[in-house]
């Protein structure tokens, strides 16, 4: 067994195990963490296939950002685990039927008869100067530039919609808004007035002081 095979089977085994754990674990936070492990090991498998850009972006985007937001939401849910377990046996037959149907469909489309070295041939082994980043970037920005821009616009619309849905404008009288620019621009002259005035001395105090001086 070569070292590459050892690493590949390690990542692949962890990916399958973590995926199974992800769908069987009851606690949603733990499920999200198993999903993290699945992504990380899938990224490892991609790295083994010389797709280092895809593998690292999978970690950067999905593990580093998307799933953190998932966890952020899931952790704040107050879920009663006992309640979730109710009705499990009742829905089990339907669940089994649905999952069998889905499995059958997937088997028809991506079953083992569509794959194998005689069908696809050996994957090309790239030389040392092969850059996965360039291999993805060049077709993306030339051949598929149109689709790429459309996808970007779609995402932008999504962002605008999400912000528009959650943005609440309140009247200035209702909420205290902080205008940081105004705060920064403030200088001492705007707020502070120095007043010059003659010293006020209470007459009887002066007499007392003189009396004390005499005593000493």
């Amino acid at each position: 067994m070569s070292f590459a095979q050892l690493v590949f089977y390690g990542f692949a085994g962890i990916a399958v195990l973590a995926a199974v754990m992800m769908i069987t674990v009851r606690n949603p936070v733990k499920a999200a963490l198993w999903l993290v492990l699945t992504f990380v090991s899938a990224a490892g498998v991609w790295l083994m296939a010389q797709a280092e850009f895809l593998g690292l972006v999978l970690i950067l985007v999905y593990v580093g950002a998307v799933l953190v937001l998932f966890l952020f939401v899931v952790m704040m849910l107050d879920i009663n685990l006992a309640e979730m377990k109710e009705g499990f046996a009742q829905y089990l037959p339907i669940g089994i039927i649905v999952s069998l149907v889905v499995f059958g469909l997937i088997y028809l489309v991506v079953g083992p008869e569509h794959f194998g070295l005689d069908k696809t041939g050996l994957p090309p082994v790239h030389g040392e100067d092969y850059s996965n980043t360039k291999a993805i970037a060049v077709p993306l920005y030339t051949q598929h530039a149109y689709a790429f821009v459309l996808a970007a616009v779609l995402l932008l619309v999504g962002i605008v919609a999400a912000i528009a849905l959650t943005l609440r404008r309140r009247a200035p009288s209702e909420a205290l808004y902080q205008d940081i620019d105004a705060q920064v621009r403030v200088c001492a002259e705007d707020r502070l007035t120095m007043v010059k005035m003659a010293p006020e001395v209470e007459p009887d105090r002066v007499e007392q002081g003189e009396a004390e001086e005499k005593r000493s």
């Binding site: 067994m1 280092e52 950002a65 953190v68 966890l71 952020f72 980043t133 902080q178």
Partner: protein
């Protein structure tokens, strides 16, 4: 040197075992000095802040208190690790590992001098960014698993903060990649050859500032340490941790501090290149200095700036921190990406040709 070792080993054992042993030795050679640096960074932090506040700092253990970090480590190792009841035991114990594992794994691609790198991969910048983005899990998981309100708040704050500042950080790195035309860290340094005025610091000055400040926020350091915020949420995500489990979080934080300093030095300050390249007299005068020393010097200065920040600035409020990240840094970096793009396209100045 390591290739020779691997060849010698594979002469009398399985190939995969030989590779594994070589990798392990390489890992130890990199990790051990970093852990030592982390230990003495804590000492430096206490001394620097102490002198800034007109105090003495640690001065009892050994000459000038130099053995203080070792005393601290021994103390922490022998302390009991308290496991809070009702906490999620496995996640509670995994969280410190999740914090330190990426902080160490990142060092695999960081070059220390020409050729001194474990894995000289082409996607080095991307690897550092990807692995550094995983460090957030240590904080989030510890916050949730501790079953404590304070820890939970710390974890939530930290997750939002790190995601926000990662975007600005990523954009700042994109400008560096555009100027350098490569993602390989060693080649980025080589691209800055030819004296201090060829460093990316000058054409990308705003990005240097954004990257370093975002780095301070990424490592949860003052003035952005709201995940800890001892005046509001006691100690944030690590309230419930004690002994070595607590220390591991600190190891991770300081290792990430050193990493951010290294990355800043490599990306913007010319890495291991001498600042006197191309200056007639000074170049020959400083020719004897080994490449690694220049890098170490730059990293030491940046680490000093980290400590300087902590001693100088009061902690940001949470909404101010988010405003700085989203409304100041991200627009600034996006605009600068376009500026660099135009400069690069029209081949302006000595840097973009």
């Amino acid at each position: 040197m390591f290739e020779a070792l691997q060849q010698w080993l594979s002469g009398w054992m399985w190939d995969w075992l030989a590779i594994l042993i070589t990798l392990l030795i390489q890992a130890v050679v990199v990790i051990l000095p970093i852990m030592l640096a982390v230990a003495y960074l804590t000492y430096a932090e206490r001394k620097v802040i102490a002198y800034m506040q007109v105090r003495m700092g640690p001065n009892r253990v050994g000459p000038y208190g130099l053995l203080q970090p070792i005393a601290d480590a021994v103390k922490l190792m022998f302390k009991e690790i308290v496991l809070p009841s009702q906490s999620n035991l496995y996640l509670f114990l995994i969280a410190p590992i999740l914090a330190i594992a990426p902080a160490i794994a990142v060092w695999a691609v960081v070059p220390f001098a020409p050729g001194w790198v474990v894995a000289d991969i082409d996607a080095g910048v991307l690897y550092v960014l990807a692995i550094a983005s995983i460090t957030v899990y240590g904080v989030v998981v510890s916050g949730w698993a501790s079953n404590s309100k304070y820890a939970f708040l710390g974890g939530l704050r930290s997750s939002a903060q790190k995601i926000s500042y990662e975007i600005a950080m990523g954009f700042a790195l994109v400008t560096v990649l555009m100027v350098a035309d490569t993602m390989n860290l060693s080649k980025i340094v080589e691209g800055q050859q030819g004296g201090i005025w060829h460093w990316y610091l000058i054409p990308l000055l705003p990005m240097f500032v954004v990257y370093f400040i975002a780095g301070v926020a990424e490592t949860n350091r003052a003035p952005f340490d709201i995940a800890e915020g001892e005046s509001e949420i006691v100690a944030g995500f690590h309230v419930e941790y004690s002994g070595m489990a607590f220390a591991v979080f600190f190891l991770a934080e300081y290792a990430m501090m050193i990493l951010i300093s290294y990355m800043t030095a490599i990306m913007f300050l010319g890495g291991w290149l001498s600042p006197f390249e191309g200056i007639p007299l000074l170049e020959t005068l400083f020719a004897w200095v080994p490449a690694f020393w220049w890098l170490a010097l730059k990293v030491a200065f940046l680490l000093f700036v980290f400590l300087w920040f902590r001693a100088t600035f009061p902690r940001y409020r949470y909404d101010q921190l988010m405003r700085l990240g989203w409304k100041v840094f991200i627009p600034l970096t996006i605009v600068w990406v376009f500026v660099v793009m135009l400069l690069h396209y029209f081949k302006v100045g000595p840097w973009f040709n």
